[in-house]
Symmetry: C2
Subunit: 143 residues, 2 copies
DNA sequence: TTGAAATTGATAAACCGTCTCAAAAGGAAT
DNA sequence: ATTCCTTTTGAGACGGTTTATCAATTTCAA
């Protein structure tokens, strides 16, 4: 039995609502995905090759995009690749991204979140999720 | 004569330092670039096609990357494409996005920006640009 | 068990951005 | 202006990432 009951439930609910099916591959990919903070499709392809050598790369892309629609993942583009962030397990995480070396530092800041809520309320919005990315140079690349 | 004397100067200084040449294409692209807050190479390609139908897409990519090196632009990956941000443009704005109807509200919040700087400093980063998007439901779609 | 609908895997195709290279242009010295 | 060397350009080829295609397979409700 899976360790990720809650997320599995979110996925199944999304599948049910959209007449989609629960497949072995989707379960396999979700399990692997939830163990990561963020991962690329290619990385997951190699990682899962041992468990299921016939799992296709296209299926991984399709499934990760499905997770985004279900609210379990969030796609983020850096360099030439797409990172799929796990937002369901840890909640959202924001990123400091070095535009030179690609280094990524994750952070969370309650004060910023509170201000975001204020802004949203002032504009009549109810926030479901957000994305905050700070681009710049890390200490090593600044020199 | 160009309206963008200051930036033109920055570019020329960079060119001089690196034994690069001042060309008609670079002037044309800089002029177009500085009118935007951010633009993709493809967008600029179409935009400039009228002024110079023979301007190649590769030249635009090369030139926008040159602007990044000169400190006039900042590349940011958005969706599948690369956005080149005009960093001399100060009116940066963030977005509130309704996931239901697609409505987008722009906002600016100095307190959030200040906290972002704090986070960056604490992690040894120097921020050049950022992206903040709040996803949720607008007042109309909540009901 | 059956059958309609969704999914998969393999691969082709699309897409974005960079590289290549011959021709053209910049620009310093004459 | 001319020369000469270097850089740049434009056009298309190329490489890596992601999506589209489609026949075969799987899901799942009846």
């Amino acid at each position: 039995m899976s360790k990720h009951q809650k997320e599995m439930g979110v996925l199944k609910e999304h599948l049910g609502k959209h007449q989609l099916k629960y497949t072995r591959q989707r379960e396999l990919i979700l399990d692997a995905f939830l163990k990561q903070e963020h991962i690329t499709a290619e990385e997951m392809y190699h990682q899962l090759a041992r468990k299921d050598p016939h799992l296709g790369l296209a299926t991984i892309y399709r499934t990760l995009n499905l997770f985004c629609e279900a609210g379990l993942a969030q796609a983020r583009h850096f360099g030439t690749q797409t990172q799929y962030d796990n937002i369901s397990h840890k909640g959202h995480h924001d990123h400091l991204i070095c535009t030179d070396c690609g280094k990524i530092v994750e952070f969370e800041n309650c004060d910023i979140e509170r201000l975001q809520e204020e802004v949203a309320t002032r504009n009549g919005f109810t926030i479901k999720t957000h994305r905050l990315e700070l681009y710049g140079l890390c200490s090593r690349c600044r020199h």
